[in-house]
Subunit: 283 residues, 2 copies
């Protein structure tokens, strides 16, 4: 396992791999690895000659009042975990290494980024696209792996790859959950013991809403059911609970077949997100 | 010579070249080829295993009142000219092939794009970056060649490549001129006979201004000299005459060493641009 801290070191590594015609599977992360990330890394490991992971807490996707400074960082732990699943190299650059200049050119996400998390995190997905575009150009992967937990992120990145013809395939991997249903997240470590007890109710609310949606085909009733469940069973503050077509993230209509049922809820100070993909059947 | 009209055909071509570890030199154009383009193509031909040219009049870089519809198109002529200098393949897609979807994601150029041509062509450089990013992802060239006549375009593309870590080297090639000094341009064919007689005065004005700038180190005096020359010797309407640091396109100050002296002038209905790169010496 190599830990590459500079772009120059990464380029040497990639250049060697390309010269040997090796395929590259890439897992971009912000570190604080959990089983979700490791599932992505295992897929990259199994499906490619080279598995590369990046560990970079990207400042441009955090808002001014978000948790950039507090975001957990422990590279030694991340390296050990990545090594345990056979990752060949970790690219772990500094902020200065990734953003040495600023010529002011920006990627702006479109309508998809105004929905769900985008409504309360203006500019977040612009920052995600910026760092993902940079990482794709640096790593030049054949396939990049993302967790379906960030369903909106996956949808927007897939749109960028499609509309800008990036020579990479995006693979999204189902959410990995704790035994009690809580979606694995680096931010779960922010939860107090009592908050941690409440947190699985988000998944329970999603499952309840899914049943309502499949039985009634009525979006508002599904959302109301999830809202009632969370209000009753947690102290959480709901940011949003929505049902949108996927991957275009538009309001559901008669022609919609695939939807994402997604929520963001503050449990104490910690903002948790979760979602379910639901097939509404052929129409 | 292959003419590739679809992305699928291009990808097959590129994939073969990459598998054989061939280097790729790329010349993006809007067609209506002239000696300037062919100089770029010759450089690509000499320096790489494969020389690819694109011919695509990109709608997203034209404003609503600009000459997108009127822009000269003659693929058979372009193919013959490209063949004559040894280009291996021309990628000539339709608009529908290049823009089949629109997820609304955009590249926005920064401060550099507010200067010079950007002031009167809002959104122009956003469209340039969009198509160049797409073409770079599709062609995956080792080196891409651009004419220094579009000095601002080169500066902004170099910034994008640097800040987004595109794995491509940008090479800019000096302006190719007619015997009387007029910079070669696809738009020169719009000129009437009398306008064509006037047009070389733009280059004469730049040379005069360069002398003034080097003698006085006074930007305003240089611009005044060029303005007076054009006003006296042509019927043209000046869009801008400016001296800016290069490549950052900022106002000249005591630390500036490299500048671009650039102008845009309407001769009749035809908007012509030209520039000189000037080294102000060490400071």
């Amino acid at each position: 396992m190599q830990v590459l801290k500079t772009i120059a070191a990464l380029q040497t590594f990639i250049c060697n791999a390309k010269r040997q015609q090796q395929t590259i599977g890439f897992v971009p992360t912000m570190g604080a690895l959990h089983d979700g990330h490791l599932t992505l890394a295992k897929a990259a490991r199994e499906e490619h000659d080279i598995a590369i992971m990046s560990v970079f807490v990207n400042p441009t996707q955090f808002g001014p009042n978000e948790d950039f400074d507090a975001y957990p960082r422990d590279l030694a732990r991340d390296v050990a975990l990545a090594t345990s699943v056979g990752v060949d190299a970790i690219f772990a650059p500094s902020v200065a290494e990734m953003y040495p200049h600023d010529g002011g050119i920006r990627l702006h996400a479109g309508r998809q980024a105004t929905m769900l998390c985008g409504a309360s995190r203006p500019g977040h997905f612009d920052g995600v696209l910026q760092v993902v575009a940079k990482l794709f150009h640096l790593v030049q992967p054949d396939v990049a792996y993302f967790g379906q937990k960030d369903a909106q992120q996956v949808a927007i990145i897939e749109t960028m790859v499609r509309d800008f013809n990036f020579p990479v395939v995006i693979r999204s991997v189902p959410i990995v959950r704790e035994d009690d249903g809580l979606a694995k997240s680096s931010r779960n470590m922010y939860l107090t013991e009592t908050e941690r007890v409440e947190a699985p109710q988000l998944y329970a609310a999603l499952q309840l809403a899914k049943d309502v949606l499949l039985n009634t085909h009525h979006v508002e009733k599904a959302i109301d059911a999830a809202t009632a469940h969370i209000t009753t069973h947690t102290t959480g503050r709901i940011d949003y609970i929505e049902v949108l077509s996927y991957p275009d993230l538009a309001p559901v209509d008669d022609s919609t077949t695939q939807v994402v049922l997604a929520l963001a809820v503050y449990i104490g100070k910690t903002r948790l997100i979760d979602n379910l993909m639901i097939n509404l059947g052929g129409n």
